[in-house]
């Protein structure tokens, strides 16, 4: 095949660089110039699937109700750590309507998520899987769960991060509970601290945040005797397919995964979990479709979380600059096998000469962590950006000025590579103007009442978002002149369907309603999982290439039909325009019977020797009631540098949403686990407090909106994670500015604010 080559691509995912071997064909397109005019890209377009979302016709996994469908439920451990000695299912099996039970004594050998079985002999958290029951309906399955008798040998447990670190804690592995999760050095931190004139040192904590996507995890599996179709609420249809085919040792072509709409994931739905295996195993055994969907309680026990962290930071300053930085962190990964490293921002955000950081993973008897929108970066930025403000205050330097001194560099300090584009200084300028930073006073301001203080704070974000190969798209025309775009991705609520439709329409020369998008089906060529802010930057450039090829072929065909040279033709809003003539596309295609024009596109590798990052800054204005400790966030200004904006309307929505989730992390969201029982005490949406409409402040969203022309042919980067990163620190810094009290634990509950106020008062 001419033009085909095999290349090595380096791409970032959640702060780590991964190398992969990819196939590339043909040439990439040049990126658009700054300010290039476009009929669709950069225009605020309502979502192309809006009608189905507001009409209730959008079909989510929960809405897949198939004829003859059975219902599976999961029996979960009531103990944080116990050995399953025996399981008696006789009574449950005798219940009319029960069709099958799986547990550790009868399950086939299945390797899943680096373990040799899906039912552990030693269950390791409250909510760990003990058995699965399938029955004619949910009521019967629920009764059957209660009829299963399990003989547990209860073992010593530990659920709390700081308790698990101590020597006297029960050891959950022969090596103990604390594991290395990476370290990094730049320059000589020890020497830096010797040179420092001012040093600040503090301990920060962040609590466990639960994703609580409104649609819980779940799947419906249907085996037709030859092929398994799985509808799953997922961020990665191909990851689900791979994990199921690996676990059940099936050919990839025999596993078909569909996710047309999904009700939120925020990182917890990258790949599949055990419920899909139960649904698949039962369906293959019984020949009927099986649904297995988690309840809200299960979602809060066994479907992932953002790790609680303990972080020590030390900063050294001299002459109004940061000269040394140390950061050591411990993350409660529960039963997870990895840690969301909080030191990523520390290592990469600022141009600081001397840095040393170490991260530890701590194992406890709690549910495994999973990625949660900028995993590690949210926790780490809260600590780092709080500490930077503490140093600024100690040096009597304006905190924004201090950051500007370390944010100018165009070189990634970790790799030494030049950034493809960095407009962080613009973010600072836009945000400072919008929040009125020049009015900020070092000692805060009077609030709206004598017992209220007002303050301003800000914080910076750095994140990946470059995406990369492999990712594919194809486009073909229907005889009515409309185009069908097929991409192997899913829309997790970010507006992927709309963005790729805009890119396609723009490149071909169609109106938005002339493009139909088909996504969420593994029968399309591969597309990436929607995590790590990679979707648009991965798939968008491939869509553009596919559309470009489709247009070129179409114009050649039109030239043949109209007997005009193709290079004298162009396509505008679905009309072929030549000198003096306008012919609707459908007229041309109707003359070609069912001949079909197909364009294909793939994602070319990222540039070598360059670093692709997104940057941004959030500014917060808060009032604090010094009598009650309540924080009132009045306004958030969020400014991001993510390259070219494809759809300003949906992009702004993502930022709004990131800010709201971050306010939950900052102010109210906290998993409470009883240490003695090992149970999550607020595994519901009543006592686990996610923000409501009443908690939403004014949120001003701004973008630098300059194409990152070196990053990819679209000039666009990811936006999923950036807006959740800097808000909590911006609020903490605003609270400190308002009151002089430094709250070093997120969420900053009233009790913690009052404690910090008492300490600040005692010190004053």
């Amino acid at each position: 095949m001419p033009g085909l080559r095999v290349l090595v691509s380096k791409d970032e995912f959640e702060g780590e660089i991964y190398t992969s071997t990819v196939i590339v064909e043909g040439n990439d397109l040049p990126a658009p110039k700054d300010g290039a005019d476009s009929s669709e890209i950069g225009r605020a377009r309502p979502r192309v699937d809006g009608r189905s979302r507001v009409s209730g016709t959008a079909r989510y996994t929960q809405d897949v109700i198939l004829p003859g469908m059975l219902h599976a439920l999961i029996l979960r451990s009531p103990y944080p750590r116990a050995r399953v000695r025996a399981i008696d299912t006789k009574k449950a099996e005798a219940l009319p309507g029960v069709r099958g039970i799986l547990h550790r004594f009868n399950v086939p050998e299945i390797e899943f998520r680096s373990e040799k079985t899906i039912f552990r002999e030693e269950v390791r958290f409250v909510g760990d899987d003990v058995a699965a029951v399938v029955a004619d309906d949910e009521d019967i399955a629920r009764v059957a769960l209660g009829l299963i008798a399990v003989d547990y040998e209860i073992l010593p447990h530990v659920v709390d991060l700081e308790e698990a670190i101590r020597d006297k804690a029960p050891k959950l592995t022969p090596e103990g509970n604390v594991f290395d999760a990476g370290s990094y050095k730049r320059g000589d931190a020890r020497k830096g601290f010797k040179d420092a004139v001012v040093t600040v040192e503090a301990t920060y904590r962040t609590s466990t945040q639960m994703h609580n996507a409104l649609e819980t995890h779940g799947a419906v599996a249907s085996w037709d005797g030859d092929r398994l179709t799985v509808w799953e609420s997922t961020q990665g249809i191909f990851e689900v397919r791979n994990m199921i085919k690996n676990a059940l040792k099936m050919d990839p072509a025999k596993v078909h995964v569909i996710c047309e709409y999904m009700g939120g994931g925020f990182g917890a739905k990258l790949g599949t979990y055990k419920y899909s295996l139960y649904a698949s195993l039962f369906s293959m055994r019984l020949g009927r479709p099986v649904r297995c969907i988690l309840s809200r309680r299960e979602e809060n026990l066994a479907a992932g979380n953002r790790s609680a962290t303990l972080q020590h930071l030390r900063l050294g300053g001299k002459d109004g600059r940061i000269v040394a930085l140390e950061h050591e962190s411990w993350s409660n990964s529960g039963q997870g096998r990895w840690a969301a490293n909080p030191t990523g921002p520390t290592n990469t955000l600022y141009d600081i000469a001397n840095i040393a950081s170490t991260a530890h993973r701590v194992m406890t008897n709690a549910g495994a962590l999973s990625a949660f929108r900028a995993p590690g970066y949210v926790e780490g930025t809260f600590a780092l950006e709080s500490a930077v403000d503490e140093l600024a205050a100690a040096m009597n330097v304006d905190p924004l000025t201090l950051r500007r001194r370390h944010a100018r560099s165009a070189i990634d300090p970790r790799t030494g590579n030049r950034y493809t584009l960095k407009r962080l200084m613009d973010c600072y300028a836009i945000g400072a103007k919008e929040i009125g930073w020049s009015k900020r006073k070092a000692a805060g301001m009077r609030g709206s009442a004598p017992h209220r203080r007002r303050g301003l704070g800000m914080a910076t974000q750095i994140c990946g978002g470059g995406g990369g190969p492999p990712a594919y798209a194809d486009v073909h025309f229907e005889t009515d002149g409309t185009a069908v775009l097929r991409v192997g991705v899913q829309d997790i609520g970010t507006g992927t369907r709309t963005a790729v439709a805009q890119i396609c329409a723009d490149e071909i020369g169609l109106t938005l309603d002339q493009v139909t998008v088909r996504i969420g089906d593994t029968d399309a060529p591969y597309g990436p999982g929607s995590g790590g802010s990679v979707t648009l930057a991965s798939i968008g450039p491939a869509v553009r290439l596919a559309a470009n090829e489709a247009r070129a072929k179409l114009l050649a065909a039109a030239g043949g039909v109209l007997e005009v040279r193709a290079d004298e033709l162009r396509l505008e809003r679905g009309v072929v325009v030549s000198k003096g003539a306008r012919t609707p596309l459908r007229e041309i295609l109707s003359k070609l019977s069912s001949s079909t024009i197909v364009g294909t596109g793939l994602r070319h590798p990222n540039p070598t020797g360059l670093a692709i990052k997104t940057f941004g800054a959030h500014f917060a204005q808060v009032e604090v009631d010094v009598r009650t400790g309540e924080i009132f966030v009045e306004k958030i200004v969020a400014v991001h540098d993510i390259g070219r904006i494809v759809n300003p309307l949906t992009a702004a929505s993502q930022v709004q949403g990131g800010v709201m989730q971050a306010l939950g992390f900052a102010l109210t969201e906290e998993r409470i686990v009883d240490r003695g029982l090992g149970r999550v005490m607020n595994a519901n949406l009543e006592w686990y407090e996610i923000p409501t409409a009443m908690d939403a402040p004014e949120i001003v969203v701004r973008f630098v909106d300059t194409p990152d022309r070196k990053a990819n042919n679209l000039g666009a980067k990811g936006l999923g994670e950036p807006p959740i990163i800097p808000t909590a620190a911006a609020v903490a810094n605003a609270v400190a500015n308002a009151t002089g009290a430094r709250v070093r634990h997120a969420p900053m509950t009233r009790a913690r604010v009052l404690e910090a106020l008492a300490i600040a008062g005692a010190m004053a």
Partner: protein, 160 residues
């Protein structure tokens, strides 16, 4: 007082303008009834215990959490779900406003949010921003589309 059950029984109610009879046990919620018995899956199940508002439907003109409402309690009543809002293919003014203001992301809470706003505007056609915010205070949105939801409600109030 009339006692019925404990087995499944026939319940007649009016759903989206049509008289229907469903055969469900007395403990069946209105939510499960519209979703599983009537196939009206636009109404979403999120918490199933009255914490989130995703299952909001309108019963006799008032917004209710259908997960906390028994089907048997709706005998002879009028139930409106998200599927019943559009007329002859034309979206309700609130639905259109949600699209125009991008008042959703994943869309899972959207049917409940829309029903809460529709019920508000029927009770108070002159609703202002504070009224809309309070009307959806019991409808959680994890994607954080709140400010756009409120903007959509205000815009719909101006148009209706």
């Amino acid at each position: 007082m009339q006692f019925r059950g404990p087995g499944a029984l026939d319940i007649s109610l009016n759903v989206n303008g049509q008289d229907v009879t469903v055969h469900v046990p007395p403990h069946r919620s209105l939510l499960d009834t519209v979703r599983e018995s009537l196939g009206l899956t636009g109404t979403k199940k999120v918490c199933n215990e009255g914490d989130c508002g995703a299952c909001t439907v309108i019963v006799d003109g008032r917004p209710v959490y259908s997960c906390l409402t028994l089907a048997i309690a709706c005998e002879g009543r009028t139930v409106e779900t998200i599927e019943g809002l559009s007329r002859d293919g034309k979206l309700h003014v609130v639905q259109q406003a949600f699209i125009d203001h991008d008042a959703y992301q994943c869309g899972f809470c959207t049917p409940g949010q829309v029903m809460s706003v529709v019920a508000l505007l029927r009770a108070n056609p002159a609703a202002r921003e504070d009224d809309v915010r309070r009307a959806v205070a019991g409808n959680l949105c994890r994607c954080g589309a709140y400010n756009n939801i409120v903007a959509a409600g205000v815009a719909a109030a101006k148009k209706s």
